[in-house]
């Protein structure tokens, strides 16, 4: 293993790989990714891999829109087919309050060039014919939202980064981060020590403990989220179905399997447990069958879990730590890390190399919690 680097990225998932690729693309040298397991073995490879642009704040809409723009040409850029499938997101509303929020969202989204629109229950059924409309009073649809293969996307970034000279070390676990005079000095791993002035914490579900190694308290925690997938069946519908109030997201993937999950912040385990529960599969199956009754006939074949890295306002924490020079964070994505990684990877690279970003992300700094300037995003599962 090398002894010295210009930039050490901790975490070889989608964040770390996107940041490394964008750094190298901008001409940075001596970049190292340290991954304690294998590429995409953490939450990147476990996520639902839906990508949407329908959000309730201007900043999130812009970030998501820019991320989608990158996804649209990413297969060519990385020379790796990431299986982009722009089948849309149909977000369903069950209450008047939700409809009112959605109306505001759509006005905002349209003003930013995102193709979302309001739909009536009848229009929703046209888009997704097997839908059971019970309780649904409307929704929004954005046809350019979609999904990708999360493993291929992460592998694509990792390989493209390596072609540009980035060194990727799997099975390399960081055990200590040495600092001096509020500066980064080195990173110690189970395979040796690397001297470096810059560390990027892109450790996803493990970013809190990585912060502690550097003596920095990052207000994040990890919580398990589960997903199940059914056996492949004939094509029934295409878009992602999602509801914030009824709490679900699920979609038939291009290969025929129906994949879905829901958030359960009250019951789900906090920490790094990625085991599975039967309660999840039972509840998820009920949600799916209620909305698309024909799925009653379909078998579930697999379930798994990954970690949401939660921040106090469910928004990412991006940027350099104010008390530790050279310690950059790309953490706390609270379930949206995969879909945002193309754009945040680019912005973190800009921040490290140029000291400024082409899209403002200063509101996402770690200082916002002390200042009490939390971001209120109404549209999250």
């Amino acid at each position: 293993m090398i002894k010295k680097a210009d930039i050490v990225i901790i975490g070889g998932g989608i964040q770390g790989c996107s940041i490394a690729y964008n750094l190298a693309k901008k001409g940075a040298k001596n970049i190292v990714i340290l991954e304690k397991n294998t590429c995409a073995s953490g939450s990147s490879g476990r996520c639902g891999a839906g990508i949407r642009q329908q959000f309730g704040t201007k900043m999130n809409c812009i970030l998501a829109r820019e991320s989608m723009k990158i996804f649209e040409t990413l297969s060519e850029e990385l020379d790796y087919d990431i299986e982009l499938n722009q089948a849309g997101y149909l977000i369903l509303a069950y209450t008047e309050k939700e409809i009112n929020q959605f109306k505001k969202n759509v006005v905002l989204e349209q003003s930013l060039g995102i193709e979302a629109k309001m739909v009536t229950p009848e229009e929703a059924k046209e888009i997704v014919p097997p839908l059971n409309l019970e309780g649904i009073i409307g929704g929004t649809f954005c046809p350019t939202d979609g999904n990708v293969n999360p493993l291929y996307t992460t592998f694509g970034y990792a390989e493209a980064a390596q072609r540009l000279g980035v060194k990727y070390y799997p099975f390399t676990e960081v055990t200590e981060i040495e600092t001096e005079d509020k500066r980064i000095l080195s990173v110690i791993t189970n395979k040796g020590k690397i001297l470096t002035p810059i560390v990027v914490n892109a450790a996803g579900g493990y970013s809190g403990p990585v912060g502690k190694m550097a003596g920095v308290d990052i207000p994040v925690y990890s919580q398990r989220h589960q997903i199940l997938i059914t056996e492949p069946i004939d094509p029934l519908w295409k878009p992602m179905l999602m509801s914030f109030s009824e709490n679900y997201y699920f979609q038939q993937l291009p290969d025929g399997g129906v994949l879905g999950g829901y958030g359960d912040p009250e019951h789900e385990i906090i920490g790094d447990n990625v085991g599975s529960s039967w309660q999840f599969s039972r509840t998820m199956a009920k949600k799916m069958v209620k909305l698309v009754p024909i799925l009653k006939e379909v078998h579930m074949v697999r379930q798994w879990a990954g970690l949401y890295n939660m921040s106090p306002d469910a928004q990412p924490i991006l940027g350099e730590h104010p008390q530790l020079k050279g310690f950059y964070m790309s953490v706390g994505f609270s379930g949206h890390g995969f879909m945002l990684a193309p754009v945040t990877g680019r912005l973190i690279a800009e921040l490290i190399l140029d000291g400024k970003t082409s899209i403002p992300i200063d509101k996402l700094d770690i200082g916002r919690f002390k200042r009490g300037e939390l971001i209120c995003e109404p549209s999250v599962v």
């Binding site: 447990n273 085991g275 599975s276 529960s277 039967w278 599969s281 039972r282 009653k296």
Partner: protein, 366 residues
Amino acid sequence: MRETDIAIIGGGPAGLSAAIYAASLGAKITLIDDGLELGGQLIKQTHKFFGSEAQFAGIRGIEIAKKLIQEIERCKNIELITNATVTGYYEDEVITIIQGADGNIMKKLKAQRIIVATGASENMLPFINNDLPGVYGAGAVQTLMNLYGVVPGNNVLMVGAGNIGLIVSYQLLQAGIKVEAIVEALPKIGGYLVHASKIRRLGVPIYTSHSLKEVYGTDWVEKAVISKVNKNFEFIPETEKELEVDTICLAVGLSPLSDLLWQAGCQMKYIVELGGYVALRDDHMKSSLDNIYIAGDVAGIEEASSAMLEGKIAGLNAAVSLGYRVDNFLELNINLRKELKELRANPLSEKVKIGLEKALIKREVD
């Protein structure tokens, strides 16, 4: 939620033996099997068994199944859940069970001990057109013929000359089906020579160092191409031979069905001599987890005779670990292990014995 002392997953020779033994000590047993009837692979095994009298030597598999099932039915403390698939073992130690063809109901079961006796699945072979109708696993051919009385085809190519390949070839011949040839990629026949000789006498050639390269056909198998292989199992050019067959029967080994053990978090190891990934176990057939025992092919590919003995050991020890008493426990354990050792005291078990040694968790105090 249902509760039980010991859940036994799999109603083949290992699971049935485990259930009978543990029930005889008084434990409450729940036996779960995915078949319409109990017995596992025994119910299609029309051949007579080897071994000693205690292991049903000279009796056909189907008869052994009947005997075991009769005993099970006599035990009042065994609850049967058949036609049911165990779909998971979860962190709260709950087993989920989906029962019935439509699988609409998920049952949940909590057991103090679990004996996993799920058996094995047949290996597939990669060759061109291996998804054509007419390509069967040997187990499927046995089920069709011996259970349902249906012949799979008219001209068969058997792939694999281990015991299963040889026995099923003989059964095909008995059913009046032409076995064109047996190919075996290894340089020598893996099964008992007594079986091989019988088949050769009936005019079936056994080609060692040969494998199946591809099959042809429009709607089903019409032709197979076999070829010589070198010691690295690579096809040797220009040694191809065409055979007019409508059925390919694959008897190329089994892999332990160990998914549940993975999910439970048992310590697993890839042991080639045992057929793949198996759970490490002590000589009581207990895995690295105190509440999970294993028995039969899931613990390493062997035969029904050894599966039954492993089942007895697992059943005995699981029940005793729950406080159920038997007077001569130590002696019983020793005798069962001795029986197993004798059963494996033949040259064909050498490989298995090497594998079992690798899978053994040695306990400090016995």
